[in-house]
Symmetry: C2
Subunit: 113 residues, 2 copies
């Protein structure tokens, strides 16, 4: 049990940074919070609402996302979309991701030893 918690903590730390990357990649099309949550979950980025919703607000505040209310349906929904600054960050994070992945693979193969 204690060991599982330990594992869960380290896995969560590994996943944490990928959520921003995944949001920026996905929000090239507008999504509202819950639909994005479902999409990310299916795409292999498990994140819960308590993490995702504040993150979306934070990214909007940072100018990386824009939002728009859709009031056409019974329940108004806030749709988020990536901004030009967010797209630029997405490109940089993607490059960083591939660099990290290269580094992880090299370590595995012991190439740098």
């Amino acid at each position: 049990m204690k060991e599982n918690e330990l594992l869960a903590g380290h896995i969560q730390e590994l996943r944490r940074g990928t959520v921003v990357l995944a949001c920026l990649a996905t929000l090239k099309r507008p999504y509202y919070g819950y639909a994005l949550l479902e999409y990310l979950d299916e795409a292999g980025f498990s994140v819960d609402g308590n993490t995702l919703y504040p993150l979306l607000r934070r990214l909007e505040k940072q100018g990386l996302l824009t939002s728009e209310w859709d009031t056409a349906e019974a329940r108004p929904r806030k749709f988020y979309k990536v901004s030009p600054d967010g797209e630029a960050l997405h490109e940089q994070l993607t490059r960083e991701w591939h660099a990290l992945d290269g580094a992880v693979r090299s370590l595995e193969q012991g190439e740098t030893r």
Copy 2:
């Protein structure tokens, strides 16, 4: 400037989880703190001592690393090595990493849309 700080923060978040993975992978052979820092830096995992040294102590406390003092040289050095539990965690984190990498690549290619 402000934009660079924003980028740096998000990149750091992306890197953070990989440091544990990289430590566990590297410490199949014993290293003392500073030598590990240099090794990781060369291998593409930039991390500073203020992050790495407390992390090593934390991983030891969690039973993922063992340590041994080498007092043969003028300046005694604490060498860390991965424990069997640490090796098991390393395997699981590596699997998780590849799953995340697959998810990132799928998102990029828009395969899941």
